[in-house]
Symmetry: C2
Subunit: 160 residues, 2 copies
């Protein structure tokens, strides 16, 4: 099973693709989509939609997993992130991918064993679980891999 | 100038297209996009994106205006509506339309003269300003026409 994990955003969208074969996980590709601040909001949403669509075409994931949005302090950012998530989900529907959503606590619990783990612990475990030579440079990419790992584990448990 | 106004939503998205010639406004088309509750969230976003894209192709608006989201009591709904808005803005970018956003108070003020007007007052003034035979059946369509009227007026003032 090939999983695409996405950490939703507007200026920065993290993504991570991994393969699960039995209990083993291996990374395929991961990184960051950054949108151009000089463009209008609709044009930036278009950049996200095009990048995610291209990613799906290039790497043919079987499913899409994202982190559920939690209402944060900054309302303006929360809406922008939700609009960004909208076009990611649209790309998933256009590619025919089933979609699953996990809360941040579920992702942290699955990856680190603690629902209240901090970013560094998540990054450490992602690096370790996927056998990466070095931690992902971007915390958003690391979070995207974390939600992909969470989904891969949960799907495995469901299939047992 | 032909304006497409959209009242963002997830289950129900109101739309209204109108023409402004000088100071005169005339309705072109208005209504409601309803998404299928039995579908997944990504599939429902796809319905919204496809419907709005079709609307733009059929009626060739010059610009897109939407009502700014205000954080409401129900957080879950707010995120769903913001995701819906994301795919509407994407359709606008794909059609090359400039986009303008107005707060609910700006829309009410322009259409009724009062920033705290209620839905019925807005509906009454929309019906009157556009010379409709009867008020739009859907309050969402009425709100979409209201934001289109707001934009048409503001653009006229800007161009004087």
């Amino acid at each position: 099973m090939r999983v695409l994990g996405v950490d939703p955003g507007f200026g920065r969208v993290g993504y991570g693709v991994l393969d699960r074969r039995g209990g083993g996980l291996s990374p395929v590709v991961y990184g960051l989509i950054q949108t151009d601040q000089s463009l209008t909001a609709p044009e930036r949403l278009r950049q996200i939609h095009e990048s995610v669509t291209r990613l799906m075409k290039e790497h043919s994931p079987d499913c899409l997993a994202t982190e559920r949005l939690i209402f944060a302090a900054n309302r303006k950012t929360a809406f922008a992130v939700a609009r960004g998530l909208g076009v990611v989900l649209l790309a998933g529907a256009e590619a025919g991918l089933p979609w699953t959503e996990y809360t941040p606590a579920e992702v942290k619990m699955t990856v680190t064993g603690s629902g209240s783990a901090d970013k560094q612990q998540v990054q450490f475990m992602v690096t370790r679980l996927l056998g990466l030579a070095a931690p992902p440079k971007s915390a958003d990419a690391s979070d995207a891999l974390a939600v992909a790992i969470c989904h891969a584990h949960c799907e495995r448990v469901r299939s047992l």
